[in-house]
Amino acid sequence: MLTAQLPEFNVDRDEDRCIQCRVCERQCSFDVYGYDVQNNVMIHKEENCVACQRCAVLCPTNALVIKENAYTYKQNANWTREAISDLKKQSETGGVLLTGMGCDKPHKIYWDHILINASQVTNPSIDPLREPMELRTHLGRKPDSLEVKDGKLSFPDYPKVELSTPIMFGAMSYGAISYNSFKSLAQAAHEYGTLFNTGEGGWPKELRKYGSNTIVQCASGRFGIDLEYFNDAAMVEIKIGQGAKPGIGGHLPGEKVSEHISLTRMIPEGSDAISPAPHHDIYSIEDLQMLIHALKEATDYQKPISVKISAVHNSPAIASGMVRAGADIIVVDGLRGGTGAAPKILRDNVGIPIELALAAIDTRLRDEGIRNWASLVVSGGIRNAGDIFKAIALGADAVYVGTPALIALGCTVCQKCYTGKCAWGITTQDPYLTKRVNTEIGTQALVNLLRAWSLELKELLGCGGINSIESVRGNRLQLRGIGLESWEMETLGIRGAGQ
């Protein structure tokens, strides 16, 4: 079809370096390259390029540079290049624009406006390499108090999970990501003593041996769910919403539903896997209470039940309701949270940044005296250990990371996950591509990431003279704001730098 679109990227090939080995042709899953036998040159269909950099990385002679196409329309603050090309795409197809990964709009990133404290003179900083430094974290309901009965300490024993570091892998379903990526996450969580989340696409039987490191989801599509699914896991999560697409369901296109995925999700091969927007047994808070308790019954009250929502305007009130409905853990996914596929219009316009939601929820639950009743896990836009430290100081118990894990596996955030053609073999089910993630190497990369960030967290603790992560939790005095308006600092509950 004739299109009025210009290629977004240019392939810049240095013909002096190119040896016509055709690696780029084999590596590119977006059909950019061809080979002209007669002239012995590579040819390009640049309009297909998504700048995933797979070809450039694998080119043995570094002959390729993938560049942003420098074309420009007349400068216009309103009608930007993106706005014009999106509109053209829609006038050519009549469809809803899809995208992948988290919101890429320049909404304020609050992490970058928060600074961390350090000890000087009046209390000593601590060297994490030689002194004890604790990151161990427990998630689940905590008792309000302990009682002494007949001279013995008695306490309600709520189900909980233990993490060696407050970093978990967020929900990414088998189907949205490839089997090898999924397995790498499971193995890395197991090896490092944390948890990964199956998402809502079921849980392959052979991976159940990592059950104590697994969170299973109960989402609106109810794929692959039975009693064993719940009971084999460490924790069960009810997924209400996702930061990238609050308020809508999911949709795994039929071509991604391969034989093994069909078995795991327990649906026929090749049929769409549609998750409705709401859970049809939850239309209100007392219905949520009903599902939470159904899951508690189904797991004999042995597993903590978490509920995941996306960060929206009234998150604090909703979170309070969730806690009162019996959630042991609440998970909040912010505006910049990732996705395998979402309508662009939702991803970029709906929801609020996690930093603000997190602070408001933690404040609200403390005001109401119910913060102990549930742990708080946040996600959506975390990029490094600094962000994690700040999240915990704002009040989170732990974080979920999704995009960082995928980047560790090779992802370059090209945002084309929804096409199913991921050249890095991550968000695809094409057997030719999925091989690109090797589970051993993948697992190691993920473990490395957990290790590096945990070490950095310890450094950050140590510089503040603190040797246990629980002394940072909700410790907003460790933070100061910079370049923030007063309403923003009020919401975050922090003071300005120098104050």
Partner: protein
């Protein structure tokens, strides 16, 4: 092996699996009722007769049973919502009406309801059978799914309300529309099968085009499908002690098969 699997593998013996155990549920909290049943089942009991049930939820939810070793529960009264939620094996018979979300995400087993049932019956149901003598409420059979030979089945003796079979992804539902009451079929409900992308609905009586979702096709059942209908109506008769003679008359009735136009209803919605 986790605790649940351990329980499944070796239930503690002691109580007779053949004896009906009566439990008076008056004023009992659901948690205590279900715990009591679970405890007795662990000691080998298999048959439970619940009296005076008024709204206790999650009956049958966390009971492990195998094909040979079925747990059976009779419910007298009105069981609470989420009866048989996530249920994996047991058989429940209700001598009265059931409330909302019966058989929610049920995996296998059987539910027989002598009265009617409320909304969202069989949501995400993945296996097993549900028979309802009376009518059912809104959104019944929503997002039912099937895999391989695991095909959940619902038979409704009476009528259905709106959004029936919404998002249906598999399984079958047979609506008898008061056949055994000798009533002519009534036309009923809107938005039938909206978003349907799998499974089959067999509907007695006429269905107007404005009653069904855009994703649904309507044709007459084939002979092979008649066999399926008859088989399940047979079971229905057995469950409710109805003369099976009438099943033969069934074929004179007008039945329509509702099925999805595509297993990919929203394929054309997006721009790539």
């Amino acid at each position: 092996m986790n605790t649940a699997q351990a329980k499944k593998a070796n239930p503690r013996k002691g109580l007779s699996p053949r004896q009906w155990i009566k439990i008076d549920a008056s004023g009992m909290y659901y948690k205590d009722l279900n715990r009591q049943i679970r405890g007795l089942a662990e000691q080998g009991a298999r048959k439970f007769d619940l009296q005076n049930v008024y709204g206790q939820r999650y009956i049958g939810t966390n009971l492990w049973a195998t094909e040979r070793d079925k747990i059976r529960i009779r419910v007298h009264g009105t069981p609470g919502s989420d009866m048989g939620a996530f249920m994996d094996g047991p058989e429940i018979e209700v001598y009265g009406n059931a409330q909302d979300a019966t058989g929610n995400t049920m995996n296998c087993g059987k539910i027989v309801i002598h009265g009617s049932a409320g909304d969202v019956l069989g949501y995400g149901m993945r296996g097993g059978e549900i028979y309802i003598r009376g009518n059912v409420g809104y959104r019944v059979g929503i997002h039912m799914k099937e895999y391989d030979d695991k095909i959940p089945t619902i038979v409704v003796g009476g009528t259905v309300q709106d959004f029936f079979g919404e998002y249906m992804a598999g399984g079958r539902i047979i609506v008898l529309n008061k056949f055994f009451e000798g009533n002519p079929p009534v036309r009923q409900s809107y938005f039938i099968g909206t978003g349907m992308h799998g499974g089959n609905i067999y509907f007695r009586g006429d269905v107007n085009i404005e009653q069904i979702g855009a994703e649904v096709n309507v044709i007459e059942p084939t002979d092979a499908e008649w066999k399926i209908i008859e088989r399940y109506v047979h079971n229905y008769c057995k469950a409710f002690d109805l003369g099976e003679r009438k099943v033969k008359l069934l074929k004179r009735e007008k039945f329509w098969r509702l099925y999805p136009k595509s297993t990919r209803p929203y394929g054309m919605l997006y721009a790539y």
